[in-house]
Every structure is written in structure tokens, then in C-alpha cells.
Chain length 471, copies 4
């Protein structure tokens, strides 16, 4: 998973474009916090600053001031298949049409095929990233095509998979969303500055205006000359393209930030409504409804409302718990969970608690939490999940899970309930989950729940260059 | 403000005492996150590891394993009057009775007087810390006293101010709480390991048991030989000592962690009850009650309950906002607040919102939040505060405010309401706040609300050695 | 300038190949100390660790142990035309024939032409390095050639310039030296491990044996199957290839380490003999001969011997002076020279001093040194240079000088003498310098002295991707 | 061993006093390179910046600019008995007479006695340094003495040991040299700025003038009011004080920088003369004289001159070898020596080599060097040492050796020759060494050669506070 952000100043006035992008990717860190970077186009000269780490640690005023220019793109990346530092984006290249920078949020399924094909034509690959594949294809496709947009259209035809990306040429900012529309990408505006972002929460942070979602299969190109679009499936109308799209349902369930809106549906509202529907499908006798901190809170509020039982707090999450926690022994791992969550004893004592979470993947943490609640006097603990059973691994990069990890593929609901020690367990049905998204115009990809891999399945992978550059 | 933690293994079995203290101070970081340290006593040899920064960044397995021993104390410190790195604790000294280590959470009011007096006897001071004063006094008082505990008793007589501290000698772990009981200090136990902590949330994290609060004016001393106590006012009974004490009311309002219990009163419950009382004192017509993230949530739940209006979410706090945010221009400062808080538009649109916060000091953030809510369609915004007007600066180190900073000293409630742009503004009365602490046995210090400085006022300060050691 | 080192274990026994390469590049740091890296081939899987900084700071035991494998190449690089961190070598790529790693010491003159040509075929470039050009050419040339060696032969035909490089494929270690033989490259052996190095001083350090110099235009390939060579000019005999070669004469004058041997001529000896010849060409009346620290010592010893005047010490170089010296004001720059050199007053007082240096480029430091010597009582200071006047910029990367910097292009010897404040000044003639290399079998490139650019002149440069990655 | 430097601006003009001290300690790093610091007095406010590491890495322009003031002292420290970072100087304290900063180069023999005595009066100690002892004594002695100088006089009476130190009060810069004059300390001047330094090489670097050596037992005090001196033995004349003094003879043999002058004797000259005398006492048949790099060069030049045999180069020292070399296995240790020294084969082949070193302590490196020379064809290797056999450990901090480490205490010269593999071995006699210092007016301490511990022997040590603060 990655966060993408691009901005272009279409006026002739000077602007702090790198700072705009900085605030943009800062607001998208929930999509990935392992590394970040910003590339700028300063009158045709490109510069990039990128590193492992958190956005606020990578950039300071001095660096941002050095990154002057009229267009910039940024990237924030989560842990993924790439080992070492070679996956840090944006990637900069020089091609026959000049400098190009790219930030991508993608899962290319035929990556090894493309790479092999390009290699056989003499290409070399310095990283394992999708971005390098896209740029290498683009560069070849640019020969004999009239402009960058048509070269990208050809590139989309070569690629099998799901993706959004933002690309910066020497005079344009271009955004691309895959024909399935699986990954979000939105267009915004503040004054003369146009912006592309994975989510509109970044626009709100910048006090910018959301114009619209990029359509599935759309190539949007912004320059001083204006905004133009090209479409993968040109024969369809906009309505059809949207209608035929399938956004990843996990964006609503977990990934996107609650204050974002994807395809005109508020993320928070979708979770709240899911909670209400869950109360209808799986009501329970309880005294207090709590959310699994922090991702279960929106659904828990809806569940409490649906049930007519008070929402409250029973668990606290320690805000100092980061990646660096020491977990070398079993006892320390147990302690690590204790460090992460604290029980409000007086709140849970002698109560029947319903705890609502967004999803249950392996169940280990839920099991610990239930035990903590009971150790602190909870009479009953009922678990309600705002998504169906995860029965299929996501091959589009949203969950790193394999079949073997997924309890729901080999256990019944009752067996899982028993394993985690809950008094009852209820998953919302896929039908109800989809109904909790009343305003969206496209379909959804729910492969992780129903095995329907809309964009197909990946080719097997081969081993890779390991570019280990410690910083 | 500081977090204190000490642990002593009273058995002959080996234990990871430094790891116990590590988890202890990890759980106390809400009391201070500027620096941290752990000192251990390994059979009379003392070692310390301390640095600026967060607990998880300062210690790793290698360091903790190197810190073997049977007793250890830790410290986590917030920003305070000390410049540079010389205030990092614990402090280690050698005295005529051997090695001593000290962690203190204190505000000594007559520090310059004591220092001058000791200097006139030939003492030298290498830091500006209270800890050095305490150790220097202790060392002199230890001449002619029968044991460390009595030397500490003499030291308490020399000191004017509020404090808790934990001290480690070559064979004992000692905890001291000032006669006002203004700063919390609790005793816990897990197996043969006894622990002292600023708050019992650290015991829960360690799966240890809370035994009791240290009494105001108590010197508790733990060794392999057992536990003994000495009292500043020996003539009183335990009940009287507690009854005459005055815990800082801001511990309940803001400082302590919600899952802690001070003087048998749950912090979360005290805030919830305050919210309920606030609903009675300052009800309002509204559609949704929200908490100011994150410190207002407990009171907001109580307020919503008292009012019979649903509690919900209207604001999100960005969990990636840390100390390093760039704020060099006015526009960037505005952006910084936007980065920190996000509005859930669909939740607040066309609604009358009541927002509950723990307290209002300068009001700048509240003002921004109200504007964001209104910009996003909130019809009305009513502010309710779970503490009275802060009219007096705290000279005991809890707030850094001076008179000049405090709007409540120069503005009426109506003027403040106008400044922050709220539709209505209500502060709980001090009387109701105190009533929301039904189970505590001691009094409270509420000097910041009523100007009654129970422990007196400080002497004026003189300038100091600036020991600037960048790391 | 760069230092190259490669090693391959041709036995089946395990060996610490990365440590061998570590010691190799450690011994080659005089050729470049800005960054360093090591890539290993572990049974077809490639890994690299590279960073800005000094070799000893970049690698530790943990890192070297992680770099297991049977073949490795290393690189140590000086400051050059590449901005930022994208020039750090070795570079790793995946090509149609698998993983490839490359370390190069090169100056490609037609780099922009090649890049443009490859871009027009759809290639992309992520760095400004020669290495990426070489690898991109190699990869295309590998299509339709029978093996890597023949692909490299084609690549050599595409490249105009001077270079040595070591390349690692999944089963071979390959070394290439340009047809001019301008950059050194030698073959060595210790047990079953074969090594390629820029200089044989690295073999001595490793207690390995020097086998021979790689011939100009030779492609040497080492694997478990044995050692094979291919030649750029296959028609010639080895003797002819060497005879037609032209090693950079600055290797003897300044670049190479005194204990190295290039084309069977000891570097130290060549400098000593130059000093002796200088005494014949430019004798002087003096009481003491000193070397300009440290690079003038070998020639000074020969000069003293030729003159029959004692060699001694008059100047010390501060061994703590590094890159980090503070030089923001004029006074600080003057101080910086004073920090770098100290005069032994009692040695120089009332004496006529002859100071011998390897070369004089801008003369600034020499001027300061002469003044220091005179300020400390030297009666006369005579400057003797072990190389002719530098009248032409080197376009092969050895000196960064441009025409404008070179005093000898616009001033007579007498004017330079006057500028630096010497009592006399003598440069060795190019003829005598060449005669001081009696045992070498090839010619020399002395373009900087005579303007005879044996490998041609470079094409004009265009601007570039700036990949600024701070560490 | 430490380097001391202090400077005071006695005019009213602004000056960069911290930069002066920076250049001063930069020039004294040969006396200690483990840590460094600078303290400044800015109109009574003191500030210090100190860290582990090298001077050039610790300070930058920003830091130095922040350290404004009219007086400053610096310190550079070698590895010593102090563990961790608590020995980093200067040390700052507040005393009854205000701020004091101290840099010391000392070995106090009765440190534990003093500490115990002060502890019994109630003092506490936070470090294991001599500096803290000196300051604690000074502070007590200041009560009832008329001024700081007399308090220091009392302090000198309390201390048994050898030392020089520079101390900064709120209005003075004070230098103290022990009554034995064992550690050097000199006074210099540039314009209105007076300076104290361990060696005058720092004055040359700053283009300042050496005024004189501080006398044994002198307390020199510099302020805007002028320069005053007080003497430990006031009854003596200056001539007698100097005559009765005993400077450490190892300053001439090894410690001081060759361009320094101690007691009017040039260090370089003393070593050169020692070499000449060595040629008379232990001549040898040889073809080439070389110095053990780098410390043997001065004596080797004198030896070659005395013998009438050419001085030349046979060994090179790698300038990149620092503290960080990897030496975990035996083979790596051997390699480490190979990395450090390179043999110039053509110079040593078939020759009889005389190698001159300043001293031989354990002989391990010498043994390796002899083997390298012989492996590279040297016919004979004769070792000559410019100091007598080291038979006694130095208890004054110059050598860390214990009796057990010193081969000369248990082996004959012949046995040592055999151990190191030399063809002959000659040590200069103590008599000849002393005669090589013709111009000095004081005596010398040669305890390491003759066991005559002029300042007495130390009391046994007890264990200590370990203040381990990693950076």
C-alpha cells in the first residue's frame, strides 16, 4: 500500500509546491509509513529527496526550501515485497522525452513476464519495483506515440494488475487509475494549484477542494495549458466506466482514513452504517459497546446506536507504542500486548461487553484483548466484526496474508469463537456490507471474502536483486 | 512533570529488573517524553543509561541485558526549567554511605536558598536539578543520622515544595512522597519484586498488583529484610495523614492516565463523572456530543450520558503528528493545526455540536477547531470544559503558564466565548469538580483555579550554569 | 578516480570473500574516499551494501558476515561529476542473462551520445554514472553474442574514453582495461582465490601474490572453470598491446600508492629516480632538502641523494586534518593552512631550504608553506617539482582542473616563482620524467603536460537528473 | 593524557574566543582524541559543549558561533581510567563564588583519600574524575581564603600527584602547574588575547607568540586587570623552582608534538640528538636507516646522520587506519597490521636495514614489521630505540602499562631481540638520553626507566560509579 500525491502550479506566480506535497503525503501516512519522498520539477531540472522513515523525520524546512519548482510528486510507502531501500519512491529517470518522475501504488501481476520481455530487448532493471517496469514500458511505448498520454495508454494495455500512479514529465502532471478503479485517486484544487491524491483527506488538510474521483481507466493530464483526459476504454461513457469499476472494499473497511470520501461515500459513514447493519444481523445482549482501538470505533458507534446500548470506552491504546518494541521472548511478547492496550477496569467490571472490530485476520490480538477484559472482571465478551470472514489472500497488495495464515479458511465461526475465547462471535455478511455503501456508483472487489479476483491472479514470482543499502 | 519507577527483587533468584523498569517507564511516558533513563544496582556497583528521546528509542535488548542487577530505578522526564542535557535522570552519586541513585518528580520552591546555603559550606553544583539538591542535602544529613531513612526525613525538613522521588542505595529501594501528597506515588508487587511507581497503570502493564498509595509524608524503604516506613508527621495516624493531604487536582483533570487510580479513585471515572456533572451545570441543546481528541473523550462520554444526547465522532487526531512539525510561517502554523485535526464532515454537517475538553488554557487550538467544525457545516458549536477557569499559574511544575498567558485572568467567560467563536461556553464549577471525586480520602490542590497555593510560593530564581551537551 | 577490487573463490571451500574485498578496497582508498560499496554473489543471489563515507565507517563485522558468497566486487570512489548519492557503486542490475554487478573507474567521453542513442531505443537512465551506460550497452550487446565476454567486446567498441572495470555475473568475475591501458588493473592470487585490483598494494595487504597487469584492451574472465582472456585488438601480440598502451603518467607522479608497481615499475622508485633527475636538471645551493608533506617525500629523498645534501624534516602535516575543517572566513582559511602544516623552526632557521613537491597545480598551498618557512627563519626557499608544468586540463578524470585554473597556461616559470615567493623554481622536463620510468613497457599519456589527448576529447555535456538522497 | 587550552580576551573588543580555543585544542589532539569540549564565559554566564569523538566532528560553525564570550577553556582527552562519558571535560560547576569551569591533565595519587575525606564532610561525587576532586577541594578551600588563587594554593597542598590545569572563574583565566613541573603548560599571547596551552605548537598554529613556560608550582592568573602569579614554594626563586622541577622525559621521547618546545628545548631536536647519540652508543653496519612510522622518523634522521648512512623510506603507514578496524579473529588481527603498514619492496630488498623507533613497550608491532621487512627481502634488520628499556609502569598516566606487560622487566635485551626477530637490538642509555636535552633547565622524571617515582606512588583504588551514557 502506498500514498500518492502530486501538485502542479498552473499560474506564473511562485509557490511552495514541495511544501504542498509535503503536507499532502503527511496526510496519507496511514497508507504507508516505511519510507517517503518528494520529487520536484524546477523548470525541467528534476530533484528528489527520499529516505526510509516517517515523513516528519525525512523533511525539514531547509530540505523543502531547496526543493523549489512548479510541479512536484510525493510518495509514502508501506512495507512490501521489496527488500532494502530500492523501493523508495518517487523514481526519477531520464528518457528520450526528458526527465520523468513516478510515484505508484500498484500490484502488477505480470511483472516478471514484462521484465523478461524487456530484458530480452536489452533493458536492465536496477530495482524490483513496479515503478521501474512502468517507466521502462512507458519509455518504449513513447517511441511512435504522439504524446506521453498515449504512451501511457499503451503501457496500461501491457500491464495486468491494479494500480494508481502519478507521473511528472517536464511540463505535465499526469494521474492514472487502473481500469478496475481498484485503487482510489482523486483530483483537487486550491487556487491555481491542481492536485492528485490517493485520498481527499489530504485536500481537506490543505484547505483545498475535492473536484472529483479520477475514473477507472482514466489518464488525466494537467499542465499550464489545461486539463485533458484519455480513457482506457474510450467507447464507454463516464457513467459506464464508473459503473463497471470495482473499488477495493477494504478501503471502506480499514484502509482509507475515516474523513476521506471514495466514490462519493464517506468512509466514516460507511463504517457507521456497517455497524448499524451488524446490530441487525448479529444483535447481542450487552451492557456496553466498545470499539477495538482505534480502527473499530466508527462501526462500534453504529452498532451501539443500532442496538440502543451505550457506546463507551473499555480499552486504551498506548500512543507511544511504535515499531521498536522489544519482543525477543514469549514473556516479552505478552508484555508487548499489555504495553499496547490498557483496560479501564471500572468500566468493564461486571459488565457484558460487545467489542466491535473492523476485521479479524489472525485473531491473536483479539484473543489477548478478550482475556484482558475478562481478567479485569468483564462478565461476558461478545465480538462483532464489521467485515465478513477473510477466506482468500489478497493478491493485490492490500493484505500480506497467505492462505495458510487465514483461520477462516480452515475453521468454522464457532471454532474461531472458541479459539479467541469470546462468548459470541458475529461477522457481518458480505451482502450487508455492500448495502452499507448505498451511494457508491461502482462495484467493489471483495476477493478476500468471496475469492472473486476481478483483476485476475498473479504469475509466480522469481527471485530478485537484493539492494541492501542501510542508512 | 516526570514519571518515576523503581523495582527491587527481594528474592535470591535472578530477575530482569532493568526490563521491569523499562516496561514501567514505558507506561509512564504520558508524564514526560523528553528524556529517560534507568539506573541499576548490581551488587553494589551502579550503572546508568540515560539519554534525550523516547523510551523505546533509548533502550534496546543489548542495553537492557547489560543492565543486570537486583534493584533498578527509572525516570521519564518532560520539558522543564532545566536547559540542555544536565537534567536527565536518574542521577548517580557516590557518598560516604556508598552509591546512591535518584529519580525525582519535584518542584522545590526554596532551591536557590538551599543551594546558596550548601555552597557556603563548600558544596559544588554541576546541574540545575532538584535531584542534585536532594542528594547534596541527603549526604550532609546522613552524617549523624542512624540510617538513610532518617537522613531523608531531615532532608524533607529542609525542602519547601512538592515532590515524589525514588532513591536507590546499595541495599534498599526507597520512595518518598511530600507531606502534601501532591504528587502521586504507589506501591506494587509481582512475585518477590516490589515496585514503586508514579501511577498504577504501570503495574497493570506489568501484570503486577497495586498494594496501596504511599501516604503523604511517608518514606517507604524496601530491602531483602522487608518493608519499613517512616513518616514526616509521625504524630498523625495514617488516616489523618491521608486526610490532611492535597493531591494535585490536575492529575484527575488531565495528567494521569485514564486507567490509573489515585487515592482509590479511577481517573477515567472521575472524568466521566465530571462530564455528567457538567451536563447538569451547563446543559445545552445539541444533536451530537464529541470529545476534544483525545483528552476530552472520557468527560464527553459522561456529558453525553448526562444529557441523553448521542456521543459520536466529529474530529480525528492525526496519529503521526509529533514534535518535529514545521511551523516557521503563519500559514504553516495554520496548516499544522489542519494536519493535527481532521473533521468528519458528514457527521457534523447541519448539526448542533457540543465539544467537551478537559481544560482551556490559551484557547488557540479550540478556536481553530471551532472554525473547522463550522467551515464543515456545523450549525452550532457549544464548548464545555471539564475543569474551571485556569486563573492562576501553577508554581508546582504542572503547567508552565504565567499569569500573562491565562485568558481567564483578564477576560470574562463571555469574552473568551467570543474569542474562540463558540455559540456557548460552560466551565464546570470547582465545587462540582471536587464532588466528582467522591471516593478520595484526601483533599486536593486546586491553586490553578482558586489561587490557594497549599505548599506556598517559590522564591525568585537566579541564573544558572548552562550545560549544553548536544547528542 | 576510483579504486576497484574483485575476488572470486574458485574452490568449493567456504571463504570470507566479502572480507577479502573489504581489505582490498580499504587499501585503495587513496584513489577515492567519498563513498564505498561491496556487492556479493551468493549462489546467484546478489546483495550490495554501499554508502557515502570511509570504508572503515561503512562496514562492520555484522554487515560483512551478512555478505556471504563466492564472488564479490568492491568500489571506493572520489568526488566526481555525479551529484548526490546515485554514483555510489557497485551498481546491481538484472538483465536477460541474470544478475550483474559493476564497479568502474572510468571517464567515458561520448556518454551523452550513447545515452541519447539508447534512450531513442526506449532505454531509461536512473543515474548519471558511466556504470549505468556500460551495463545498458552490455545488456543490448548481449543479445546475439555468444557470451558475456563478447558482449563486453562489443561494448568496448561503443565506448570512447578511458576505463577499467570489474564486473560480476552469476558465474564469473570479469575485468576489463581500456585499449589505451590508461587506468591500471592487476591480477593477483591467494590460494584458490583470484583477485582483480586497481593496484597491487591491495595484494600485499592481503598477503596475496601479484600475477600480472591486465593488458590494454584485455577482457579477463575468471570462473571455477579457469581463466580466459579476449582482446580488443586480437591481431596484436601481448607485447604489442602493452607497447602500444599509454598509462596515465600521473599514476607515477601522484595517484598510485608508493608501494604499488604498475607495468613492472615501482611507484616509489619512479618518484625517487625523478628526484635524482631533478637534481641534475635543476640543482640548487641549499643546506637541507625537505619533501612537501606527504606526497613529495619520495622525490625529495632522490633529490637529496642526487644533490648530496642531507634530507630532513622541516614541515609536519597534522594527521587530524580531515574534510570537515571550518573555513567560512578568510582568516579561518589562513588558519586552516596553519592547522594543516607546522614548521620545525629549529630545523629551518638560517638554512637554505629546497622543498620538493610532486606537482604544482594552483600553487596556493605552496605559497603559504614558503611564507611559513620564511617567517620561521629560513634564509632561502627553493622549490623543485617532480613533474612538468601542468598546462592542459585532464579530460580523463584525474584532475578536475579547467584551463582557467592552471597558472602554467598563462604565466612563465619566473612569474609563478614570483607569485609563490620562492627564491628559485624548477620543474623537471617531461623527457626526464619519462626517463625515470626505465622499466615500463608501454607508453604514457601526458596530456596534462603536452596536450596530446591520446584517447581524444570529450563531447559537450548536457544537464542531468539530480538524485539528491541525503543520508 | 590530555590537551589543555584556555584563552582570555583582555580588551573590550569582541573576539571569537571559542574559535581560538577550537584551533588550540585541534592542535593538541595528539595528547588525546577520545573526547573534547569547550566552555565559555559570556559575562558571567557559562556554557559548555562537549562530546565523545574528534574535535573536528564535535564542533561546527553554528556551535562555535553560539559559544560567544570573553574567556574560554578547552580540553581534549585520551582514553583513561574513567569509564563512560562522565570524564568528558571541561567540567562546569556553580560554587559560592559563582561559576567555575575546569580542564585538567592530571594523575592524582591520593584521589580516593581525598574523596573519602570530602564525603565524610557530606560532599557527593557524580564522576570519577580528578577535575571533580579539584573543584570540590577548591570550593571548600575558598571559604576563608582571600581569593581563588589562594584557594588553589591550599588545594595544591591537599593533592598528591602530577597535574596541569586551566580554570575559568567569572573574571579570570587561571593556569596551574604541579610543583614537580611534570606536565607542561605554557603561556602565549596574540594581540590582547592571552592563552594557556599544554604545548606551544598550538600558539604557532594560531600565529600567537610563546611567552614562557609556566613554572613548576606556579598559579598564574590572567584578567582584564593584568597577570599575577602565586607560587607553591614561595621561598624559592624562579630559577630554583625550574631547576628543582622534573618534566616527564616521555614528553621528549614520544608525547609532545615535534614542533613544540618544552623548557626551551625543541622536541624535534631532542629526538634528532637522541638519534645521533644512539649512533654512537649502538652503531651498526647497514645500508639504509628508516624510521618506525611515524614516531621514529626524527630519531632515525639523527641516527642516519650520526652513522653516515642514508636515511630512506622502507615502510609506509596507511593514513586511513583508525580506531574502527575489525579485528575479531587472529587472521584479521594479522591483516590489521598489514593494513596499517606497507613495505616498499624495492627499497628494502637485499639491504641491511636499521629501523629506529622512539620506544619499545610490548614489541608486538615491531615483531610484525621485522617479519614484513624480511619477507620482502631485507637481508638484515637492526632495531635501535631512542629510549632505554621501559622497566617500570608509569603511575602518572602516561603509559597504561602494568608490570606484567613490560617485557623488559623479565627479559634480557638478547631475549627481546630474539622475540622480535631482529638481527641486533640497541637501546640508548638513560644517561645519553638525558644528555640529548642540553638546554633544559629542570630535571626529568624517568621513573619508567629507573623506577624513581619523583611524585610518589599511588594509593590503591576502589571501585566506582559507572556512568554509562551512550551517545
Amino acid at each position: 500500500m502506498s500514498g500518492l500525491f502530486g501538485a502542479i502550479n498552473t499560474s506564473d506566480r511562485k509557490s511552495d509546491i514541495a511544501k504542498t506535497v509535503y503536507y499532502g503525503i503527511f496526510s496519507l501516512q496511514h497508507r504507508g509509513q516505511e519510507s517517503a519522498g518528494i520529487a520536484v520539477n524546477n523548470n525541467g531540472t528534476f530533484m528528489v529527496h527520499k529516505q526510509p522513515g516517517m515523513v516528519a523525520d525525512i523533511f525539514d524546512d531547509v530540505t523543502l526550501s531547496a526543493l523549489g519548482g512548479e510541479c512536484a510528486i510525493g510518495h509514502t510507502r508501506g512495507a512490501d515485497k521489496v527488500i532494502g531501500s530500492d523501493g523508495i519512491q518517487p523514481i526519477l529517470i531520464k528518457s528520450r522525452v526528458g526527465n520523468i518522475a513516478l510515484s505508484s501504488d500498484s500490484s502488477i501481476l505480470n511483472d516478471d513476464e514484462i521484465r523478461d520481455d524487456l530484458k530480452n530487448q536489452g533493458a536492465i532493471f536496477q530495482t524490483n519495483t513496479d515503478s521501474e517496469i512502468i517507466l521502462s514500458l512507458f519509455s518504449r511505448n513513447r517511441i511512435g506515440t504522439e504524446d506521453s498520454e498515449h504512451a501511457l495508454l499503451e503501457t496500461m494495455k501491457n500491464i495486468k494488475g491494479v494500480y494508481s500512479f502519478v507521473l511528472m514529465t517536464e511540463d505535465k502532471l499526469i494521474g492514472v487509475r487502473d481500469p478496475y478503479g481498484m485503487r482510489p485517486l482523486v483530483l483537487g484544487k486550491k487556487g491555481d494549484t491542481y492536485m492528485l491524491s490517493s485520498e481527499n483527506c489530504a485536500f481537506d488538510a490543505l484547505d483545498a477542494e475535492l473536484i472529483r474521483d479520477i475514473e477507472p481507466g482514466e489518464i488525466i493530464s494537467i499542465s499550464k495549458e489545461g486539463i485533458n483526459s484519455l480513457y482506457f476504454d474510450d467507447a464507454k461513457t463516464s457513467e459506464q466506466r464508473v459503473k463497471d469499476g470495482n473499488v477495493c472494499i477494504f478501503e471502506y473497511v480499514y484502509v482509507a482514513r475515516p474523513d476521506s470520501v471514495i466514490d462519493e461515500m464517506s468512509i466514516f459513514d460507511s463504517r457507521y452504517k456497517t455497524g448499524q447493519a451488524l446490530a441487525k444481523e448479529h444483535p447481542c445482549e450487552c451492557d456496553l459497546v466498545i470499539g477495538a482501538p482505534d480502527s473499530g470505533n466508527a462501526a462500534a458507534l453504529g452498532f451501539a446506536d443500532g442496538l440502543g446500548v451505550p457506546f463507551g470506552m473499555g480499552l486504551l491504546k498506548n500512543r507511544y507504542v511504535g515499531r521498536t518494541f522489544i519482543k525477543s521472548t514469549q514473556e516479552q511478547r505478552e508484555l508487548a500486548v499489555r504495553m499496547k492496550f490498557a483496560v479501564l477496569k471500572t468500566q468493564v467490571k461486571d459488565k457484558r461487553i460487545a467489542i466491535v472490530d473492523d476485521s479479524l485476520v489472525r485473531g491473536t490480538t483479539t484473543k489477548h484483548i478478550i482475556r484482558f477484559l475478562k481478567d479485569n472482571g468483564a462478565k461476558e465478551v461478545h465480538v462483532r466484526l464489521a467485515s465478513p470472514e477473510v477466506k482468500f489472500p489478497c493478491c493485490y497488495g492490500v493484505n500480506a496474508s497467505t492462505n495458510a495464515d487465514l483461520p477462516a479458511t480452515r475453521m468454522t465461526v464457532e471454532e474461531i469463537r472458541d479459539m479467541i475465547g469470546a462468548d459470541s462471535l458475529g461477522y457481518i455478511s458480505l451482502k450487508s456490507l455492500k448495502e452499507a455503501l448505498p451511494t457508491i456508483h461502482c462495484g467493489t472487489c471483495s476477493a478476500c471474502f468471496d475469492g472473486n479476483y476481478i483483476a485476475g491472479k498473479p504469475c509466480p514470482k522469481t527471485d530478485s536483486v537484493h539492494n541492501v543499502t542501510y542508512n
